[in-house]
Assembly symmetry: C2
Homo-oligomer: 467 residues x 2
Amino acid sequence: MSLNPADDRLAALLPEHVLRPVTPAYLEDARGREPGQAGLVAAPRTTEEVSLIVRACAQARVGIVTRGGGTGLVGGQIMWDGPAPLVLSLERMTALRGIWAQENVLVAEAGMTLQAVRDAAAGQGRLFPLSLASQGSAAIGGCLSTNAGGVTALRYGSARALCLGVEAVLPDGSIVHDLKRLRKDNTGYDLRDLLIGAEGTLGVITAASLRIVLPPPEVGTAMLEVPDPGAALSLLALAEARMAGCVTAFELIAGQGLAFLSEVLPEIRQPLPGAGWSVLIEVGLPLGTPADGALEGLLEEAMEQGLVCDGVIAQSGTQAAEFWTLREHLPEANRRIGSIVSHDISLPLSEISRFIQDAGQVARAMEEDIRINCFGHLGDGNLHYNMFPAKGRTRAEYGDLGQRLAERIHGMVIERGGSFSAEHGVGRVKVQDLQRWGDPARLAAMRAIKTALDPLGIMNPGAVLPR
Amino acid sequence: MSLNPADDRLAALLPEHVLRPVTPAYLEDARGREPGQAGLVAAPRTTEEVSLIVRACAQARVGIVTRGGGTGLVGGQIMWDGPAPLVLSLERMTALRGIWAQENVLVAEAGMTLQAVRDAAAGQGRLFPLSLASQGSAAIGGCLSTNAGGVTALRYGSARALCLGVEAVLPDGSIVHDLKRLRKDNTGYDLRDLLIGAEGTLGVITAASLRIVLPPPEVGTAMLEVPDPGAALSLLALAEARMAGCVTAFELIAGQGLAFLSEVLPEIRQPLPGAGWSVLIEVGLPLGTPADGALEGLLEEAMEQGLVCDGVIAQSGTQAAEFWTLREHLPEANRRIGSIVSHDISLPLSEISRFIQDAGQVARAMEEDIRINCFGHLGDGNLHYNMFPAKGRTRAEYGDLGQRLAERIHGMVIERGGSFSAEHGVGRVKVQDLQRWGDPARLAAMRAIKTALDPLGIMNPGAVLPR
């Protein structure tokens, strides 16, 4: 392969064994967007090698795009324009550095998949609660860099809340050693939380100290049909009042989502076929509180209050797994149908019900002939509000509708105190949204921090903040 | 009062009504240290006035020491040397800006006391879980700026974990508007968590959006005597395995602490007088799990395993309050006895038991004739490890022992992967500790961030980082 002069200079600074062929797999994302570019791909085995690579890139003035599992949804791991970067793949840094079951802590290298972290915890009778549809390939480093959310954030928080400390390489190649196994440490600025969610623009997280938990002794799962999203929120409030923080997940599912499943994944079993709106609830309770009884009590009270019209409480682990299979295949069904536009939004809980009504009206006023699938982590106020072509039509037929819808929907979200990126991050896809909707003083502070830590602008150039 | 020329220039830039007389109350801390200094005291009523004051201080090159309730324990609110600062008191910014019970969110101005925030939540049937001995005077802004911990961090986290967003004035006077009522928002760098714990060195938090929760339906409290701290940790693990995250507090109490209470606060009732080591446990459980039964079940299993020798389960709210009164008076008893040296340390849980043994041996090898009171938030690995004169002796008789002990104890803590400031912060008292024990790359990044956001060095000069 012939390299451009900058890459040539850079390659000369690196030990040959860290370089990898530039194959398409390093340049893609999970949304099937246009592939990115890379001058070189490096796969270090150690934090010291990451440091060496970062120093070399600084010297050669070559940008670095760090890559975990490549499952990011907003292009944080794909660089489409500007000088080709070095792609820093963490695929070889997959060691479990240690697990302290008694302390409920493990230390994982950034390239471990989320599933591998979960398995390591399970091997010691523990649970690493972060749970995402892409956990089989998503790397824990990427989960942290994007502060991934998922289905258990209601109870356990997003990735940030599960991280006790990080080891990271800063843009000057220095290594931050902060893999503490401590619940409390108030010794200066919170660099950990700054690196978490910075999407690789302030440094490379190479390892993390993570909280694990004892799995709740009693776990119960139910699918409940609700009259509307407002009732779902009242049901959540009722569940939380009864359950003392033991509601693990509370997912909203739209009738359109079930219809999509019937259309493209008919093999997925649906416990409440034809439900207009439903929720998937999981509770994890103390010893002596059988989950069935707790869910039955909830269901009874909720039905009396008109919050639930129908419901199925899982009678076995297998049935519970079936409910989760349904939930986890909603994004896959969406992908097969092919959206015109997707949104990853959050709203104050009391704004959600009216937002769903208003957004539907606004969207249909712009284009009557679409399908809307609104689902997501209702307990967190986090909706995936996605629009699709009518049956038999393709998204190409809708021209720039997606762009115009996104503009309106994001505007409505901001007006209501919401966020245009609840859990996916900014990446490169939402850089302009952040510039447009972000608080100016906060943006200026972000820019000052970026310039202070990465004066050469080599870390994930053009992600989060414009180049 | 005659002002020095800088203060004179500064006063001319400020509206007269924000200025307050410089009285001793603005210059003190809860530990009774040497009072600090102030050229001016300003008490703004609005965020815009805070901004105006910060801009004026920037123009006049006068440092700003922000002050909430003044209860900080490490001198973050007291400036002893360098040019006299303006003390920015938040005493007039005490509004509850709003409470959204359905969303479990409230927005408080920074000068509200923690107790007032707790009361506002209670008024809507909610709980703001942060709980500290000083909550009657500690301001919520100070709790956030120092990332205060307290007795419920085990379950609900420290102050940081309870904050959804902040409004803040940055060192250039710009106002960050980020009072979001959102559980998830991944739109750029985590400026909120950077300001939290920065102890007023990066800006002034003027208001915060806070998580409140539904109080658990069933609450139980017990005092249990344990053979040693190792047994206490095994008891905690057992409780957590049974309780699915419903252990709210788990406090270790040393026999020496009970002896101090008997000595100086004999009116405090002791349910387990003479216990060598004991723990105060509080659980908050779902409906249908009576707390008494849950605690009895725990006690039974723990006794079988030899983890508990004796115990009292509170039979009423009054009795539970008595247990807490005991716990909350431990610091007051310490104060009356008068420590030679105090430590606010955290350790990995599996290091704690041996550390307590080793530290006791090391200390007694340095000086046999002392009393050690080791207590604190065992569930968080956070100990207050304090040394006192023998009965009948004064701390003055021990010369520089306190300093030498601190040196050794901190060294032992660092060796074991612990922290020399678990929940109190760095302030001015631990600046040198941070320089000595902090990770060099992390310290360099902290300095870069400080310089980027506060190039004039006006925000709390000399706190956290040396001037």
